[in-house]
Symmetry: C2
C-alpha cells in the first residue's frame, strides 16, 4: 500500500469533476421541476398534482442528495473523519426523508384515485431500492457511527458498504429512468413517437440523469482521489492492524 | 502495491460467484426466450415477429456476453495475458455482432411497419450504448492488442478502459430494462396494473437483469479478485516502470 500523506493536497482535477457533478445535479433537479411545471401542471399535495411530488422528491432525494452523500469523502479530505462521517450519514437521512415524502405522495395519490399499487417494474425496482437504502443506512450506522463495532469488523464491512452504496445509487438512477419512461408512455401514448416537446425534454432529462450517475461513479473510482487517512488515523490504524492480525492468525 | 504471486491460487469464494453469475445470466437469456415464446408469438425474421429478434439479441449480446467478456480476467487467472486479452476482445466482438443483428432487426421492422425511429428514451440510451461500445472496443483494440501503443500509454489508459467498460455494461442493462418496460406498456396498457402473467414474468425478468448486472459488478470490484500479474509480466512491468518514470519526470 502506498504511504498516505497526512494533511494531503487535493488532486488537481478533482475539484473540476466535483463542480461539474454539482452543476449537472442541479440541472437535473431544475429540469425535473421545469418538466413538471411546463407539462404536468406543477406541484400540490391535493388532487391530481399530488402525483408530481413523487418524481421531484425522488430526483432531489434518491438521485441528487444520495449522489452528494457518496461524494462527501472525496470533497472533505482534511476534516476530521468523524465530522465527514456524520455529514455522510446526515445527507443520507435528508435523502431518505425526502424520498419517503415522495413515496407517501404516490401511494396516497394511488389510493385517492383508486389505482393499483406496485404492479410495474418501476415500482418493484423502487421498493427494492428503498428497502436496500434503509438496510444500508441502518447497518452503516451501527458499524461506523455507533461506537460498539470493533476496528477489524469495520474494516471487513467497509468494502461491502462502499460497493452496495454505489450500487443502490445506480439502481436509484435506473429506477428514475423507468419512472420517467412510464410517465411519458402513460400520458403521451402514440404521440411519444411524434417527437412531442415533452418527450424530447424528458428524454434529455433521462440522458442527464445517466450522465450524473456516471460522473458520480467516475469521481468515486480512482484510488488516488479517495480521502487519504490523516496522520493520527493512520497511526491508530497501524496499531489496530498489528493487534488484530496478531489476534487471530487463522481467521480467513 | 502488494507483491503479486506468480501462478496465483484462485480466491476461495470467486468460483462460486462466477458460477452464480453464469447461472443467472443463462436464466435471464432463457427467460427472455420464454417471454417472447409464451406471450409474443416467438421469433422470425419476417413479419411482426421480426421485432422479437431485437430483445433476444440484445440480452444475449449486450447483457450476457458483454458481462462474460468483463469476467474473463477474473476467470482465466493463470493463462498467458495475451490469450486472455484475445478472448476478452473476441467475446466483445461476438457481443457486438449479435447486438448489431438485434439493431438491424428493430430498424428493419420499424421501416416495414412505418413506425418512427429513435424517439424514445430507450432508443436514445440504446444508440448511446452502441456508439460507446464501438468506440470502447476500437480504442481498446488499438491500445492493448495492436502492437503500437507504448507501455506507459497503456498504463494510463487502462483505468479509463476498465471504468468505461463497466459503465457501458451497466448502461446496457439499464437500457434493456427501459426496453422491457416499453414493450410491456405498449402491449398491456392499463392491463399492466391487473398483474397480468406477462407483466409479472417480465418484471421478474427485469429484476433478474438487475441482479446479473450487480453480480458481475461485484465480481469485478475486489482488488484481491483481480488477475495477478504472472512472474514474467511483473519483471517486465518493473523494468518499464523504472524506464518511463526516469524518462519523463515532469509529465503529469
Amino acid at each position: 500500500m502506498e504511504s498516505g500523506a497526512g494533511a494531503a493536497s487535493t488532486p488537481r482535477a478533482l475539484p473540476y469533476f466535483v463542480a461539474s457533478s454539482q452543476l449537472l445535479g442541479l440541472t437535473v433537479v431544475a429540469m425535473t421541476g421545469a418538466w413538471l411545471g411546463l407539462y404536468r401542471g406543477g406541484i400540490a399535495w391535493e388532487g391530481a398534482l399530488q402525483f408530481n411530488v413523487h418524481p421531484l422528491c425522488m430526483v432531489i432525494g434518491l438521485v441528487f442528495l444520495q449522489g452528494d452523500a457518496l461524494l462527501v469523502y472525496r470533497v472533505f479530505r482534511n476534516e476530521a473523519k468523524r465530522t465527514t462521517k456524520v455529514l455522510h450519514g446526515l445527507l443520507h437521512v435528508f435523502a431518505f426523508v425526502i424520498a419517503l415524502v415522495g413515496l407517501v405522495a404516490v401511494f396516497d395519490y394511488h389510493k385517492k384515485e383508486g389505482y393499483a399499487d406496485l404492479y410495474s417494474l418501476h415500482s418493484w425496482c423502487g421498493i427494492l431500492v428503498f428497502a436496500l437504502y434503509f438496510v444500508q443506512w441502518t447497518v452503516g450506522f451501527s458499524f461506523f457511527l455507533f461506537p460498539g463495532a470493533s476496528f477489524s469488523l469495520r474494516s471487513r464491512y467497509r468494502p461491502q458498504h462502499v460497493f452496495f452504496g454505489a450500487t443502490i445509487f445506480l439502481l436509484s438512477v435506473g429506477t428514475a429512468l423507468l419512472g420517467l419512461k412510464e410517465a411519458l408512455l402513460f400520458k403521451l401514448g402514440a404521440d411519444y413517437s411524434k417527437f412531442e416537446p415533452e418527450g424530447v425534454l424528458a428524454n434529455t432529462l433521462g440522458l442527464l440523469l445517466v450522465c450524473f450517475g456516471v460522473l458520480v461513479l467516475y469521481i468515486l473510482t480512482p484510488a488516488e482521489w479517495k480521502r487519504p487517512p490523516q496522520a493520527e488515523e493512520q497511526a491508530l490504524s497501524m496499531d489496530f492492524k498489528t493487534l488484530t492480525e496478531g489476534d487471530s492468525p487463522s481467521s480467513q
